[in-house]
């Protein structure tokens, strides 16, 4: 295990992507940064630019319009990058399964490292998902 990967376990910077979710999962992701679930204890910071990201948190089913943007976002991230899918919609389209503009779950198009089920998942569950991904490094 190299020193850079060891440091990556201690400071994962998270970038938040919404691919057509109903905003519930996004509110729960922001809850994890509040003083109650202080996630900066583990070095996790929400960054504003994709160039700084180590972990992509993706919420929502993939719609037809967002697919090229999603692929470009994954290509723009610097490369030891992990993908976590948050919410039931990203895992298997959930309640939007029969929608006319839904073209599938996230793992049809990107290599996914962890699934966090729930509608919406609790903040504790999201933190547990990030921890499981970091243990696979």
């Amino acid at each position: 295990m190299s020193l850079a990967l060891k440091a990556l376990k201690k400071s994962p910077w998270v970038f938040h992507v919404n691919t057509g979710a109903c905003n519930n999962c996004d509110i729960e992701i922001l809850d994890a940064l509040t003083p109650r679930f202080d996630v900066e204890r583990f070095g996790i910071v929400l960054v504003g630019s994709i160039r700084h990201a180590d972990v992509l948190l993706i919420s929502g089913p993939v719609t037809r319009n967002v697919l090229p943007r999603l692929k470009r976002l994954y290509e723009q991230a610097p490369k030891p990058v992990k993908v976590i899918v948050v919410g039931a919609c990203g895992c298997n389209c959930g309640i939007f399964r029969d929608g006319y503009n839904i073209i599938g779950p996230v793992d049809k198009y990107l290599p996914v490292d962890a699934y966090v089920p729930g509608c919406p998942p609790k903040p504790e569950t999201i933190i547990a998902g990030v921890v499981k991904v970091l243990n696979t490094l």
């Binding site: 190299s2 020193l3 850079a4 990967l5 060891k6 440091a7 990556l8 201690k10 400071s11 003083p35 202080d38 900066e40 204890r41 070095g43 960054v47 504003g48 630019s49 160039r51 700084h52 180590d54 723009q76 610097p78 490369k79 030891p80």
Partner: protein, 309 residues
Amino acid sequence: MDLKYLFYYLIFPGFLFTGVVGLLTTWVDRKVTARVHWRVGPPWFQPFADTMKLFGKEVIIPAGAKKTGFLIMPVIGLAAATLASTIIWLANLDPSGSFVGDSIVVLYIMTIPAIAMILGASASGNPLGILGGSREMKLLFAYELPLVISMLTTVYKAGSFSFEQILAKQAASGIMLGSVSGVIAFIVTIMCVQAKLTFIPFDIPEAETELAGGTHIEYSGAPLAIVKLNTAIMFFVLPIFMITLYWGGISLAGWGILTSILKYVAIVVIIVLIKNTNPRVRIDQALRFFWGPMLVLSIIAMILAVLGY
């Protein structure tokens, strides 16, 4: 070129020492911020882990970028910040090594990291980065004038431009903060330092929420680590600069170590508390603030210094 000066620049008052203490200062910043929010905050090795991680990541050159300028500008900023730190520390530790007008040299060198960030952002080929660069330029024009005038009050009282004379004057007849004009100039300088570090309320160039990182939006990997290190080193240099000008300097003899650390931490905590209790201002508000109240205050301090208060 003497080998002694290379040691000064690279090891003790220079790159290694300044980098380590600057990163620890950013940890103090994050920890105090967390305690203000009633959070626990990151562990002490967090900035070092961030830097190590960034050096291990991939470096991406955007398609529209000018490669040379994009990659070389953070290094130029780092060299300038390290040089400013070295000059100030040598003037404090060994006053005989001071030369006439080194305060002017330090003031000139400390603008180079901001200019390097402007050029690097403009070379990145990203519209948001260029917008951040233009905002940083306006901010530079705003804070430079009150900073120079408030420094001139100290220079007028000491009767010389060199750090050696300023420190000798303060050792002989009390610190500059003991007078009315010194206190006013100190307040103006703290505001200018806040803008120089691009902290809230003046973090207009790096607005995370509207420019997504602003000046360093396209940097990734090792260049981003160097940009963060620039900010950390400037966060270390500017309080030392203020202590030298207004608070009697630093010394490493006996109790001097403890008092120096206490002075430094006091100024850092003041900066962090201002950062945590204010909203972000617009660029025109920042310009009006610096060319209005702050300029008037610094001129008042200058007049009081001439009158002898």
